[in-house]
């Protein structure tokens, strides 16, 4: 089974925390979509596995018109084995999701919406430079449900400013009252090339101390446990039956094709590649049939490190049987030696598996640096 990711590299405006690749020059949309269609076609023989999931991400896929979306899906269904597709996710911003647009998505086969709510508190939305209001966020979720989407997810970013406790409580209240089946919650991360980072440098914005994030993370975990959500991945929470299939495949070594500028692909074995993160260069190189991506071939060490990195994000953790089948024995031995130097409350270990506790997840980068080869 394999996945397909389509990157729609346009946004109406820049969110203050975002460093993903996109452009606000929507006038180039048509050219980029043409190039996307070409890429979808030329890569048709790359995968032998049937497609299980399709994911429209961005940027903002909700800048697509019905015709554009339908054409993209047509191409995918035409050139790939989509007989076993279970999940087609579409990322959208609340301000774009009118009832009509939602019905259009439904009509075209989208069966999962990922909605960029980020917060249900206006103060936080303003700080993140989001275009929508808290009220809009709430009403759009009701619309999603009314339009007949059972499966959807909302994004939450926590730890924005000094009111983080109060604001998180408000966000949790909304998650609960709206009967949202899945959510992702991320600690605010200040990336290098973002508006927020500029403000941090000038002193206009300050980063909260670690205990604020610790508080939010623990509060969310407790909320999940009390409300029948499974905290199945570091940043993801699902009611039974609503785990994200597409994203889970990233953690489980499944192959995926990424189309569009900056999109990543993995052959399921040892090659990762990524398209150029520049709309103009992407279009130009696709048109001329010149290289538009870079790739790396993973060494055994890389593969091992990736296995740890991805699996330890999940509740399943790492499987020693898998390790002994795929890597030299000394690798497993090393993990056992290293993990025992760490605080026992950070992990669960038995003879078959090692996984991190929520406490461990909070410092998983530190742990990974200890365990990496």
């Amino acid at each position: 089974m394999a996945g397909i990711y389509i990157h729609i590299p346009f946004c109406h405006q820049r969110c203050s925390y975002c460093d993903f690749h996109f452009s606000t020059l929507l006038k180039h949309k048509e050219k980029v979509i043409d190039a996307l269609l070409t890429e979808i076609e030329v890569r048709k023989n790359e995968l032998s596995a049937p497609i299980e999931t399709i994911y429209f991400g961005g940027g903002t896929p909700s800048v697509l018109s019905e015709k554009e979306l339908a054409t993209l899906l047509d191409f995918i269904f035409k050139f790939y084995d989509c007989s076993q597709v279970k999940e087609i996710t579409f990322e959208a911003n609340p301000e774009d999701l009118s009832m009509a647009y939602l019905k259009m998505l439904k009509k075209n086969g989208i069966n999962r919406i990922s909605i960029g709510t980020q917060s249900f508190v206006d103060e936080e939305l303003r700080l993140m430079n989001r275009k929508h209001s808290a009220k809009q966020g709430i009403s759009v979720i009701k619309n999603i449900q009314d339009a007949g989407f059972e499966n959807f997810t909302a994004d939450i970013i926590y730890g924005i400013n000094k009111n983080y406790k109060k604001n998180l409580a408000e966000n949790i209240k909304v998650l609960q009252s709206l009967q949202i089946p899945h959510f992702s919650a991320y600690a605010l991360t200040i990336e290098e090339k973002t508006l927020l980072n500029k403000k941090v440098k000038t002193g206009e914005f300050s980063i909260l101390p670690d205990d604020a994030y610790e508080y939010c993370f623990n509060t969310l975990h407790a909320f999940a446990q009390e409300n029948d959500f499974l905290h199945y991945e570091l940043s993801n929470y699902a009611k039974p039956g609503f785990k994200s299939l597409h994203n889970s495949n990233y953690w489980h070594n499944k192959p995926y094709l990424g189309f569009g500028p900056s999109a990543h692909s993995f052959d399921g074995k040892n090659i990762r590649r990524w398209n150029v993160a520049n709309n103009h260069l992407y279009v130009k190189n696709i048109q001329k049939n010149t290289p538009y991506f870079e790739q790396e071939i993973l060494t055994v060490e890389n593969l091992f490190n990736e296995y740890l990195m991805t699996k330890l994000r999940t509740i399943e953790g790492i499987d020693f049987k898998y390790l002994s089948k795929n890597f030299p024995n000394k690798y497993s031995t090393r993990i056992l030696e290293q993990i025992k130097l760490l605080n026992a409350s950070w992990y669960n270990l038995n003879e078959n598996r090692l996984n991190l506790t929520p406490k461990g997840w909070l410092i998983s980068d530190f742990i990974l640096k200890k365990l990496f080869i």
Binding site: Y5, H7, F20, G57, Y186, A187, T189, D210, D211, Y213, E214, F217, L234, S235, Y250, Y256, G258, S262, A263, H264, S265, F266, R272, W274, E296, N302, N305, E306, M309, T310, R313, L342, N343, W361, L362, I363, S364, D365, F366, L368, K369, F372
Partner: protein, 597 residues
């Protein structure tokens, strides 16, 4: 001999010495354009990167002037205060000097002290204004400075540009017409002055010399007077772009000798080569250069101790001014206490160890050498090269530390700030001279140890880069020094100890603790950082235990970026040293040097 001209170049760093030298080599066809790498004379990678000359070099040019052939020996000099003795020997081998001044910047302290050296040795000075092609050149103002300084005629100052080649012919003519031919007696016993040596892994040490009196022939039995060692002159020759063997080097000329010498310390700059039979007198001015700054160098990986010894031995082969002896530290294990000419020299050695030998090393807090006197024997000084070796305070009569005389040249607007800095550094103002209306020379007596502790960086900052600095040692003075210790989670880390002035202990202790707090990454548990004098804790900081270290997002299947980031950070961790239960990064050991960053 009458057609030989020996000259050196006096210039401040960045004033374009090397570029202009390259033009001279091109104009005399010593080097073809194709062979010209930028800055030919600086052939160590490090030198080229830093734009400075560390070792001196020499090169011979042939120049036709009015139908006569002249031999021009350019003796390049190191451009940094750490190497001022080498400069003085290079100058002693010359009869003339090109004084190169950047027309956009004016005269700097380094230039002045070297210029005085040249004038002391009666060198003919040819003043040159370089970088005249730049729009920011201020020729009239800088000419005033030059006239003030050497009392030449304004017209004698040659306008030049290493970049465009402007003035190169005039410079060559001036060398021939103004620099006197060497005076020496061809029939006197041989006296050749060694002004440099280089290491060649196949042929051993090559010594560069100038024949002051007599002549030297291939196969001569020679003696190096200071070391007392005797050799056979297996090969002698002149220094073109490559070495060119000759049978004889005549009086006044410059050449090289290869005589099977394996170790750099057998060839001392300033020593005199003479013949075993009919020996001459030593040329005066020889000094055995002593290291001024000491620091421990330890391998990050304790298994690499022997590799580090090998590397240091190899470095010493071509850098006789580096000294080292084994030492051990409770915190760092086995390593070496190394002696350096100065801070730049120390940085260079550290960098060469990393680049040329692939060693990852920890350099401890550098210190100067102190004289400690015990109450039971107050006459005999004990030399202390390492703070840990300071005898117990109860047994100490007194401690003396080395002082320097420092000359700082700056714009008048910065005088106040620089005075404050020097006084804060326990300096004593000795003299203040206005060189021109807005350029001032300040002369201070300063403890050398204060120069070691982030003096250069501060000077640069407060003067916005418009201050140049030069110094020479003036002996030892008594000081109230105490040992400041640093403890991590209660364990004393000997490699972080420093000897400092008593009045500054509290302030420094506090600063060191807070700097270390910045540099030591958060770990599994709280880390207490304490500064102590004896058993008394004077400052404390805590590095809180790590509670969050996670990349929440790993979006769109971009696994590579995160993996690479973590792998890179993991590599960084390998540069850390485990001390007790605490991981300490390499750079923390030099933290005290950069307290105000």
């Amino acid at each position: 001999m009458k057609n030989i001209r020996n000259f050196c170049i006096i210039a401040h760093i960045d004033h374009g010495k090397s570029t202009l030298a390259d033009r001279l080599l091109q104009a005399t066809n010593t080097i073809s354009d194709r062979e010209l790498k930028e800055q030919t004379l600086d052939d160590m990678d490090l030198e080229r990167e830093r734009g400075i000359t560390i070792k001196s070099h020499a090169i011979q040019m042939e120049y036709n002037h009015n139908g006569e052939k002249y031999i021009l020996n350019l003796i390049d000099t190191p451009g940094h205060v750490d190497f001022s003795y080498e400069v003085s020997r290079s100058i002693a081998a010359c009869e003339g000097a090109l004084l190169i001044v950047d027309a956009t910047q004016g005269i700097q302290a380094q230039t002045i002290s070297n210029l005085y050296l040249a004038i002391e040795h009666d060198l003919e000075i040819i003043p040159i204004l370089n970088k005249m092609d730049l729009p920011s050149a201020m020729p009239e103002e800088v000419k005033d400075q030059i006239v003030d300084l050497i009392g030449c005629d304004r017209e004698d100052i040659i306008a030049a540009s290493g970049k465009t080649g402007l003035g190169v012919d005039k410079i060559l003519d001036a060398i021939v017409n103004k620099v006197p031919a060497p005076k020496g007696d061809p029939n006197a016993p041989l006296q050749a002055l060694i002004f440099d040596s280089v290491f060649d892994s196949y042929r051993g040490i090559n010594a560069y010399f100038k024949v002051v009196n007599g002549t030297i022939r291939k196969g001569d039995k020679v003696k190096f007077i200071a070391t007392g060692k005797e050799y056979t002159a297996d090969e002698i020759g002149v220094l073109k772009l490559k070495q060119e063997p000759r049978d004889v080097i005549e009086t006044g000329n410059v050449g090289y000798i290869i005589s099977g010498i394996k170790q750099a310390k057998e060839v001392k700059v300033g020593d005199t080569i003479t013949k075993v039979e009919n020996p001459g007198e030593p040329i005066k001015g020889f000094e055995d250069v002593k290291p001024m700054v000491f620091a421990g160098i330890y391998p990050v990986d304790t298994d690499e101790y022997e590799d580090l010894r090998d590397a240091l031995e190899k470095l010493q082969l071509n850098d006789a001014s580096l000294t080292f002896e084994p030492e051990s530290s409770a915190a760092l294990g086995f390593g070496f206490r190394c002696g350096f000419l100065g801070m730049l020299h120390m940085e260079i050695i550290q960098e060469r160890l990393e680049r040329e030998f692939g060693m990852t090393v920890i350099t401890t807090v550098p210190n100067v050498s102190y004289k400690a006197y015990l109450t039971k024997d107050p006459e005999t000084p004990i030399m202390v090269h390492n703070p840990s070796d300071l005898p117990d305070p109860s047994k100490l009569a007194k401690v003396e530390e080395p002082y320097i005389k420092a000359s700082i040249i700056t714009k008048s607007e910065f005088v106040g700030a620089i005075m404050n800095l020097c006084i804060e550094k326990r300096g004593e103002l000795k003299n203040q001279v206005y060189l021109t209306t807005d350029r001032v020379e300040l002369v201070f007596d300063l403890p050398l140890a204060e120069i070691v502790f982030d003096f250069y960086d501060k000077l640069k900052t407060i003067s916005k880069g418009y201050a140049s600095f030069d110094y020479h040692p003036i002996g030892f003075k008594e000081s109230k020094l105490i040992k400041l210790d640093i403890l991590l989670n209660g364990d004393q880390v000997d490699a972080l100890s420093a000897l400092i002035h008593r009045d500054k202990a509290y302030e420094l202790g506090k600063k060191i603790c807070s700097k270390l707090k910045e540099l030591i990454p958060r770990q599994q548990f709280d880390i207490a950082i304490q500064a102590a004098i004896g058993s008394k804790i004077i400052a404390r900081e805590t590095v809180k235990a790590l509670r969050k270290d996670v990349t929440a997002k790993c979006y769109g299947g971009d696994i590579s970026r995160k993996r690479k980031l973590l792998e890179k950070q993991k590599k960084g961790k390998k540069r850390m040293r485990q001390i007790g239960s605490v991981e300490v990064p390499q750079k923390a050991f030099l933290a005290v040097l950069k307290l105000d960053d």
